[in-house]
Amino acid sequence: MSATLLSASISIAQVFLALAIICATARLLYGPRAQDRVLALDTLYVNAMLLMLVFGMREGVTLYFEMALVIGMLGFVATVALAKFLMRGEVIE
């Protein structure tokens, strides 16, 4: 009973997060300007992180948590670097 319930809800959540990633990818490809693409990339990172966490819950393994943590940190660093690049034209001054 509880396994079926959890399995069904995790499957639906995975489909939702995959659709969210597809939406972010569409914005990444069509985004008219560079800031739209950076925003889409940040959303893509967050959605991928959530998908990792949901994968971990499906498998019952806490290893996926570390992957989610690394994805979150790299996403933050990447977005800040890109925003700084858009602002100044160079990352490290």
């Binding site: 509880s2 997060l17 560079a34 800031q35 925003l39 967050v46 992180m49 949901v54 858009l86």
Partner: protein
């Protein structure tokens, strides 16, 4: 999914509800990112997924692993704190860069002429005063 077979039904119910709600919020934010009309509108949408959506899924993960391992598993708080701290910083830097670019190119906001234009203009005036 055989690790969840001996899980109490109530715990499974709570976890399932939290996961579904979080994933729905993330999807709503991404659809908003795709559908809204200009950049300053679009910045608002993904924050829903990256704060509340992520928070709900992290709470679901905490509840599930605490029930599975029969001890409090709270390391998901790391991601929660990190997301809460970094999301505003990221978006503020990004919007500042966008404003800087818009001003540098001489056109206020984007080419959309409706309410996004007025919002961008107000933001610009507030920023320059």
């Amino acid at each position: 999914m055989n690790h969840a077979a001996e899980l109490p039904v109530f715990t499974a119910l709570v976890t399932a509800a939290l996961i579904l709600l979080g994933a729905t919020l993330a999807l709503t934010g991404s659809i908003g990112l795709l559908r809204l009309r200009n950049f300053y509108d679009r910045v608002h949408a993904p924050t829903m997924g990256s704060t509340l959506g992520a928070g709900l899924i992290l709470i679901a993960s905490m509840v599930l692993f605490s029930a599975l391992e029969l001890r409090p598993v709270l390391h998901e708080i790391l991601i929660a704190v990190f997301m809460t701290v970094t999301t505003p910083v990221t978006y503020m830097l990004l919007v500042r860069a966008a404003l800087h670019r818009d001003r540098g190119e001489g056109h206020r906001g984007e080419k959309d002429r409706d309410r996004g234009h007025a919002a961008a203009e107000k933001e610009k005036d507030r920023n320059s005063s």
